[in-house]
Each structure stands twice: as C-alpha cells, then as structure tokens.
C-alpha cells in the first residue's frame, strides 16, 4: 500500500487528503507544525474579535480524521530527503513516503524594513501570529498597519473591535487600488474612514523604532512622519512558503514550480495551494494565486492524479469574495483596476447606501467579461455559466434579477442599474421581468 504524505494541513493539503481517501485505499498522513487539526485560516480575524473561538473554525469534528483513516502528525518538517524519500522532523522519527504533496502555504512579506523583527511587530497568517497579535495589543494606545490588502483591512477591523486606534499605511492612492478600479477603491476608502480608521494613503513605511526593551515605540513613514504606536501589523502581502524545499533538489522560483499536473521536477512530489507556482498557468491566470478556492481546486486535482486518474489543473472562470468592514464584495470574471484596451465598463453606485456594481465587457463584441459587486450578493452559478458561454452584457443585465442572491425582502436595485446602464448606453434594449407575489404567483 502506497504511503501518501502531505505537508501542510490547510485547505489545499486537507482537500487533497480527503479526496485521495475517497478515491483510493492509500495510507495518508498529513503533517502540520501549526495546529493539530485543520482550521480555517480565513476565520482568524473572527477569533480575535470574539465572534468565534478557535474550536468553531475547525471545519470537521476531531473524530473525522480517524474515521477516515487520515493520520495527523503535529510536527515541523526540517528537511526532505528526496533520494531516499524520507522526511526529517523536529521531534518525530523520520518518515518515509511514496508520494509527497507539498502544501506549505504562504508567509507574510517583509521587505527588510529596519525594525521589522522588533517585539510587537507581527504578520497575520498563522495561529502563532494570532497569539502574538493578541499578546501585543493589550492595553495599547495605537496600532499601525502596513499594507492595504485584504489581510490589512481585516487587521484594522480587528483592532477597531477592541477600540484600539489604528493608523493604516497604504502605499496606493486609494485602498487596494492595485486590484480595484478607482471608483470602488475610493468607496471602500471612505468606508474605512467612517469606521474612524486613520487611513493614510500614498504612505509607505520607512522604519520601525524601538524602545529600550526591544519593543516597538513608533513607526516612521516615507515622508518622515513619526507615528507613536505599540503594535505594528505587517500585511503587505504574502509569499509562498518555500523555506523547507529551498535546501532540497526541488525546483523553486517565487514558489515551488509545478507543471499543469501540479508535479514538481522530482517524480512523486507535487505542490499545491499557496506555496505553488505554475510554470504554465492556465490562460489569463497568474502563476501564483493565493486564495482559498485555488488551494481547494488544486487539492481536488492532485488527488485525482495521485489516485491514478491523471488530471490537469484547470480552474474555471475567476471568482473571489471578501468583506471590507460592513461591505461584502463578490467578483466573477475579471475586473482589472484599469480597463484594458479592448474593454468597456459600466459602473453603478447607490447614492447613499454603500452599494456598487462594476461591469466590464468587450468594447466591440459586448461580451461580458467580469463584474465587481459591493453590498449585493450574486449567484456564482449564473455568472460561471455566463462567463463560460461568453454571453453579452445585455444578457447579463436582463437576467440580473434572477442572478441576485440577496436574502428575501431586500430591496432590489436591478431597475435602477438597468436604467443607469441605458443612460450610458442608449442603444441597448434591456428590460426586466416582474417579480412574483409572495414568491408563488
């Protein structure tokens, strides 16, 4: 019986393990240095804010693993001996594998700032980071967050929940406008300020200052302003965690290099999730994509290959979601921060509520290319089909109401959106259907 060993018990590694169990009778071992059981990294903020406890973030009950014959090892892998197919641990005895899946995740970026390793400076990725944040934000007067991405804004919300004043240093001219178009980025920036966050746009970190005991005392911004603080959160993105494989013969670049079958250069060794870098990414996709869903899809895919059904990584149309304080965000297809040559757009924003939709389509053919939606939930299934079938923007608008996924009784804005669209594009002939009374007639 083959022994499949997976390093990393995140969504990628665990999905692989579960699907290999479904499709084979192999021995399966999952290793993690971080936690005994799989927990949901995406829920890290909710533990700090007291919405949940750590237990609640575990997607499976503890008995699940034994019942499904998935061995769990809670230890750190120090080295991989690819020639003898062995793993060396911090504490446990070496372990042999027949097939090795690397799902080691990602680590916070540190750009060599002076003072980045002081006490009171932390990234926000792991349970250990959470503990650090917890310890270093007790009774403090101010926290500074460096880097305006999805994790940065979560950290801002976290500190805010404990009434800790926050300075949020963002390099860009609006929050996350390296990903979001200006309209949305400025709407979110406004929302951040509504929550009394001291949002400092176009501001970079120069250095972090220490007190006499090696603790953070203040940060200095690019333009020389000193902000006194006792905690600094580094959330300027993450990079693949390749520390372990760097010393081995496994090929790496930014991440662990894999082909379309998620195979590394060494036979029987695969890499998936945040740590992987695609040598030949699928069309329109980036070589490194560090989100929950891609980790899951890679896990599902590698499980097929390992169980004998060789399968290429083939994600469907791009989708993602996030929440910026109170504003939910969903995206389907691609809405780049700046329109591409061939693209046209239509943007709608509610005058008072923080609701917005941004449609992108082909200038000439009118093919729908992508949507950003803020504060209005949309059906993934519909947009997935529409993107795959290359339907027109008119088609999308016509059926927008059916694609709405907001809870019942929510106000619907499709009519506003469509009339705004018609004002922008007078040639279009979109109309919408009437809604049923009480959902029956």
């Amino acid at each position: 019986m083959k022994h499949v060993v997976i390093i990393g018990n995140g969504i990628a590694g665990i999905t692989a393990a579960r699907h290999i169990r479904k499709n084979s009778d192999f021995n399966i071992t999952v290793i993690s240095a971080e936690s005994e059981y799989f927990w949901s990294r995406t829920a890290l903020m909710y533990i700090y804010m007291g919405h949940m406890k750590y237990e609640h973030t575990k997607p499976y009950e503890d008995w699940f693993w034994k019942k499904n014959r998935i061995n769990l090892v809670h230890d750190y892998v120090k080295a991989i001996d690819t020639s003898s197919k062995k793993l060396l641990f911090d504490q446990n005895k070496p372990l042999s594998y027949d097939i090795l899946i690397l799902a080691t995740g990602a680590q916070p970026n540190k750009f060599g700032w002076p003072g980045q390793d002081l006490k009171g400076v932390s990234g926000m990725v792991s349970l250990q980071d959470l503990k650090k944040i917890e310890d270093h934000t007790k009774n403090i007067n101010r926290g500074v967050i460096i880097g305006g991405g999805l994790i940065g804004i979560e950290l801002a919300e976290m500190l805010n929940s404990r009434n800790i004043p926050v300075s949020f240093l963002v390099r860009e001219s609006q929050f996350w406008d390296n990903v979001l178009p200006q309209q949305e980025a400025s709407m979110i920036s406004r929302h951040i300020k509504q929550h009394h966050i001291d949002l400092r746009l176009k501001t970079e970190l120069k250095e972090i200052l220490s007190d006499d005991h090696g603790y953070v005392r203040a940060v200095v911004t690019g333009d020389g302003v000193e902000i006194p603080c006792q905690f600094v959160g580094l959330t300027a993105g993450v990079h693949p965690n390749i520390k372990l494989v760097k010393e081995s013969t496994i090929e790496t670049n930014r991440g662990i290099l894999v082909n379309e079958f998620l195979e590394t250069n060494i036979p029987d060794i695969y890499a998936i999730g945040d740590c992987a870098e695609h040598k030949h990414p699928p069309p329109g996709r980036a070589p490194v994509e560090q989100v929950w869903y891609t980790g899951r899809i890679m896990g599902e895919t590698v499980a097929q290959t390992v169980s004998g059904n060789k399968t290429a990584y083939q994600p469907g149309p791009w989708f993602n979601s996030a929440k910026f304080f109170d504003i939910e965000y969903q995206t389907y297809g691609r809405v780049w921060n700046k329109l591409k040559e061939n693209e046209a757009e239509f943007y709608w924003e509610h005058e008072s509520e923080q609701l917005a939709m941004h449609f992108v389509f082909d200038k000439v053919s009118k093919t729908f290319l992508g949507i950003n939606s803020f504060g209005i939930r949309l059906r993934h299934e519909f947009f997935d089909q529409w993107l795959k079938n290359s339907v027109s923007i008119d088609h999308v608008l016509k059926h927008l109401k059916e694609a709405n996924f907001d809870p019942e009784f929510f106000k619907s804005y499709e009519e506003d959106i469509i009339s705004a669209y018609k004002a922008d594009y007078p040639d279009s002939k979109v109309s919408i259907k009437r809604k049923k009374v009480l959902g029956i007639f």
């Binding site: 949901s40 919405h51 949940m52 997607p59 097929q304 994600p315 993934h380 299934e381 809870p407």
Partner: protein
C-alpha cells in the same frame, strides 16, 4: 459602552434587583376579608376559617412563614380527619360480624347496621356501600375471603379520605396561593403603580437606554466579543442569568404562592385588560411580552442592515402582543373562551383535553369556531403553509417560544451544540416527545368519547399529568428558557417541541423551502454554524456546495446574515432539485462529487 449605556445598564440592574426585592416587601395577615375573597364556597369557608383560626389576624413579615403555617394547620387538620374518617380493622371486623361464618352472600344492606350513626360512622358506611356495590349478591365461601376483599376496599377508601374530607395536595396548593394573595398588605398593595414603575417600568427604560444608542453604530454584523463576554460566552453572568431564569420558572410553575407580590404589581394592568386580578400567568405573560418587545427592538437595531431580520422580528413582536397577550385577555373581558389563536396543537397540548373541548363547545359559535380553527390549523394549515415556506413561517415568525428565542435568546444563540452526536440525540428526543403527545391526545380523546379512563391499564389522566409536568413545565419552561445561557436559545425548540417535530417532518420531506449555497464561495469560516441556534452544522453543507434541507431549520436566516461571503440564501423554490447533488463550482478539470 457609552456613559448613557452604562447608566442604562445600571438602571436595568437596579430595577431587576428591586423587582426581586418586591417579593419581600409586603406583609401577610389573614383577615376575615382575606378569607372571604380567597374562598368562594360557604361550607369550605367555614371549615378553613376553623382550621386556620390560630393564624387569624396574625401578622407575618415573610411569605415563607405564612405558608409554612398554612401548611402546618391544614396538615394537622388532615391528621385529625384521617383518624376520624379512616376505616379501621375494627370497623371491618364489625362489618364481618354481620355475616354468617359460611356460605356468605354479600349485601350492602348489612353494612348499615355495622357502624354507629355518628358523622364518621355515616361517612364510612356510605363509602363502603359505594365501593362495594359491585359485590352485591356475590358469594363467598368463608369469612376470610370476604375479609380480604374488604381490607383492600378499606385501603382504597382510606387513600381518598383526605381528598374528600380534608385538604388534598392540589387544594392546599390552591389555598396557599389564594390566601397569600388576599392576605398580602403593605407598600406594594398601597403604592402598586409606583412600584410597577420602579421595577418593570424602570427596567424597560434602563434596557432601552442601553439598546437605543446602538443606533449610532454603523449598520452591519455586530458579533464583536460575543465569546469574550461573560454573558454570551457562557461566563459567570450567563450562569447567573440562567440560574435566575430557572428559579423564576420553578416558582412560577410550582410555588406561585411566593410570587403574589408580583401579581399584585400588575393588577392595575390586568384590571384594565380583562377586569380581573392578575394571576401568576398574567404576570408571566406580561413580562414575556415585554421581553419580546424590548429585546425585539434590540434585534431590529442589531440587524437593521437586513430587512429579512427586521420584518421577521416585527412579526414575532406582533404575534406575541396581539395574539398571545391582548386578544386572550380581551376575550376574557368579553366573557368568551380565551385562546391564543396561533398556539397550535401539539405545542398547545391541552387543546384536545376534555375541559377545553367542553369549554369551547359550550360557548356557542365563537367557541365552536375556535375549535374548528385549531383543528384546521393543525391538520391543514401546518402542512400547506409549511409546504410553501418551510417551518419558519411558524417557528421564527409567529410562535411565542420562537419569538422569545429570537429576541431574548439572541445573545445566546451561538451556544448550541453543533456536533453530530447532539444531532442524533435531538432526533431521538424530539420525535419521542411527538409520539408521547400523540398517544396522550388520543388517550384523552378516547376517554372523552367513551368515558373510559384507562387504555391497556394505563390511566389517561396519569399520561396527561406526566406530560404536563415533564414536558409542559419542566422542559418547555425551566429547561427551555432557563438553559438559554448554557445551551443556546432553542433548547426546547430543538429537543422538545412536538410541533417543531411535526413541522420538521413536513419541511424535510415535502416543502419548497431550502437554504441554497452560492456556488463555491464558501471559505469554511464557520460563522454560519456558530450562529445557528438550532445547532445545524451549516458549514458542512456550504463547503460542499450542498443545499441545506434539515427538519430542524427554523429559517431564522441568521446563518445567511452572518456569512461574510454571501454564501447562503433561504429560498422557496420548485421542490425538484432540492436534494440536488453537492456541487462546487470552479473546477473544470474534475467533475466533483463531494
């Protein structure tokens, strides 16, 4: 917490402490007047006045001592009754001497001469005659076998002596309540309105001062520090609240004589609404309605970004205020049978009890209408409406228990157990209660129509009293609400409510309702499962892309509200495809069957 909120909370706590202290402020004196108001029948009045004569016009500072004395004097009277009216072996021997040694033919006539003509003797003769009338003409080979029969009869008669001639347990309970209520005097009686304002009135004001400033916060999910809080995180405040609630229910159901001051407190309201003095049930109903109202306002503010939650909360407040509280009181005032028209059998387990049927059938067309209404709701209303909208139409929109859970219970919803084991226990328990209530109701109807009080040797009356005690009071009340801070807000709805079981079976097998999951957007964060008051592991479905079709889901919609990724939607749609395959979108390489 702002200064205003802190003040509000202090006011609320002060008012609550005062409400409890109200129970100790009045004094008790059994006056002629008190006797007259507490007891209606003349003969009874005489007997009670005699037995409680030593207490008359004595002043008691404590309710407990007052009731202890009532208990003491009534029990000593019982003792006397017992010694006077119980049949003795000697009495039986006297009866036996009336018969010849052998070839006995039993005749009740012979008993008359066996005992003396005193009051006691007459009573005993009458009882013996009644109890042995079935033996008339029966033949016995010898005295020994007759003696055996008579001794058994003696025991049966003696077991009932207290109920007939003295004070049975029920009577003592009722007397205690009535006498305490009527003997009470002091500040609460003199300044009732003032005390009402200082306790319940101030409590409402304090609570609103705490709640309303939350309007100043931006709308959105407000779950910060839920698990840090010693109240909502199963900490010391939670335990205290739980024990206070349990204590309240124990007094309400089993020792109402200790809460007479509370009844007096709400007399002014009761008098306006139904023209009578308040009972413990009126006090309970009033407090319950206030709790739903005030905590409903909290819920509406907390979820003011979600129209679904707002409308649903308006609905539970409306049904509580109008249907559970005002209409029944007004019906009493109009001398009509009083009924909570939305309380459906089998939750309303007394609906088919003889006294209720009689009460309804004897009060003309309005009573008959109510009877029909109840039957139609149970047999036709429940399945049809549940088919269209799921059980939520009742459980989280109309029901009073649900209404309290969704308002007062909201701070505790996250404490429900989500484990597979809890789900197993839940299914066993709730369906057992359903079976129990069905059997009990059929038994009661059987008794009602045939007059026979036993089915296969089990008394239908015992069935009823066990159900009333274990399920109706202990489970629904004490555990159902008292355990909010320990096991979440829906302990009763999840493990005990027979109507929920019935609605759940319809919802599970024949309904348009389901919770749809949005493609592959779930990030397994666990908010949905954590905040599901019914302990449904919503995430386990969402992360597989599977519809949630569960008998227990009350459709509160909170899972959908708290989901940070917009994954869940409560929907009524074509039942086809309800149990569709679990699909996660986004992987074109692998056709996932999860």
């Amino acid at each position: 917490m702002s200064a205003l909120q802190k003040t509000g909370m202090s006011i609320f706590i002060t008012a609550s402490v005062m409400l409890i202290s109200v129970l100790f402020l009045n004094q008790y004196q059994l006056t002629e007047q008190a006797f007259m108001s507490a007891v209606s029948s003349d003969s009874e009045l005489k007997m009670i006045a005699r037995d409680l004569a030593p207490m008359k016009d004595k002043t008691y500072s404590f309710n407990v001592n007052f009731n202890k004395d009532i208990e003491h004097y009534l029990q000593s009277s019982n003792k006397e009754v017992k010694s006077r009216f119980s049949l003795t072996n000697k009495d039986i021997n006297n009866v036996l001497t009336q018969f010849s040694e052998q070839g006995i033919k039993y005749s009740t006539e012979k008993i008359s001469g066996a005992l003396d003509g005193s009051e006691e003797g007459k009573f005993k003769v009458q009882k013996l005659k009644d109890y042995t009338s079935w033996m008339e003409g029966r033949e016995y080979s010898d005295l020994a076998s007759l003696e055996e029969h008579l001794k058994n009869t003696k025991n049966n008669i003696n077991a009932n002596v207290i109920n007939e001639k003295g004070y049975g347990d029920h009577k003592i309970k009722a007397l205690k309540l009535a006498l305490t209520r009527q003997s009470s005097f002091g500040p609460i009686t003199e300044n009732t309105l003032l005390w009402l304002l200082l306790t319940i009135g101030l409590g409402v004001v304090g609570a609103l001062m705490y709640i309303l400033p939350k309007l100043g916060l931006l709308p959105g999910i407000k779950n910060d520090h839920i698990f840090h809080s010693p109240n909502s995180g199963r900490g010391w405040i939670g335990y205290m609240v739980g024990f206070l609630l349990i204590g309240f229910y124990v007094i309400l159901y089993w020792f109402p004589e200790y809460m007479t001051s509370w009844m007096i407190l709400v007399d002014p309201i009761s008098l306006v609404l139904n023209g009578n003095e308040a009972s413990q049930w009126f006090f309970y109903g009033f407090l319950y309605t206030l709790a739903i109202g005030v905590m409903g306002i909290r819920m509406i503010i907390k979820y003011r970004h979600s129209k679904y939650q707002m409308i649903r909360t308006y609905s539970v407040i409306f049904f509580q205020v109008a249907f559970a509280f005002l209409i029944p009181e007004i019906l009493i005032r109009l001398n009509k049978p009083s009924m909570d028209l939305k309380n459906i059998w089998p939750l309303n387990y007394t609906f088919f009890f003889d006294y209720n049927i009689e009460n309804l059938t004897q009060t003309g067309s309005i009573g008959l209408g109510m009877l029909m209404w109840g039957i139609i709701l149970t047999l036709i209303g429940v399945p049809i409406i549940t088919y269209f909208y799921g059980k939520r139409w009742y459980c989280s929109w109309v029901c009073g228990c649900g209404g309290l859970a969704e308002t007062l219970g909201d701070p505790y919803r996250q404490l429900s157990d989500k484990s597979l084991k809890a789900w197993k226990i839940e299914r066993w328990m709730i369906h057992s209660v359903l079976v129990f209530v069905v059997v009990m109701t059929f038994g009661t109807l059987y008794t009602y129509f045939t007059g026979s009080s036993e089915i296969i040797g089990i008394s239908t009356y015992d069935f009823r009293s066990v159900y009333g005690f274990v399920i109706g009071a202990a489970f629904a009340g004490v555990v159902g609400v008292g355990f909010y801070p320990f096991m979440g807000s829906r302990v009763w709805c999840r493990f005990g409510c027979p109507l929920a079981a019935y609605l759940g079976i319809v919802q599970r097998f024949k309904s348009r309702f389901r919770i749809t999951t949005n493609g592959a957007q779930c990030i397994s964060c666990g908010n949905c499962s954590t905040y599901c008051e019914m302990g449904i592991d919503v995430r386990s479905y969402a992360q597989k892309g599977q519809n949630i079709v569960r008998a227990s889901c009350v459709g509160c919609g909170v899972c959908s509200s708290v989901c940070p990724r917009g994954v869940l939607k409560l929907e009524n749609k074509d039942p086809k495809g309800r149990f569709g395959e679990a699909i996660l979108i986004g992987n074109e390489g692998v056709k996932m069957k999860t």
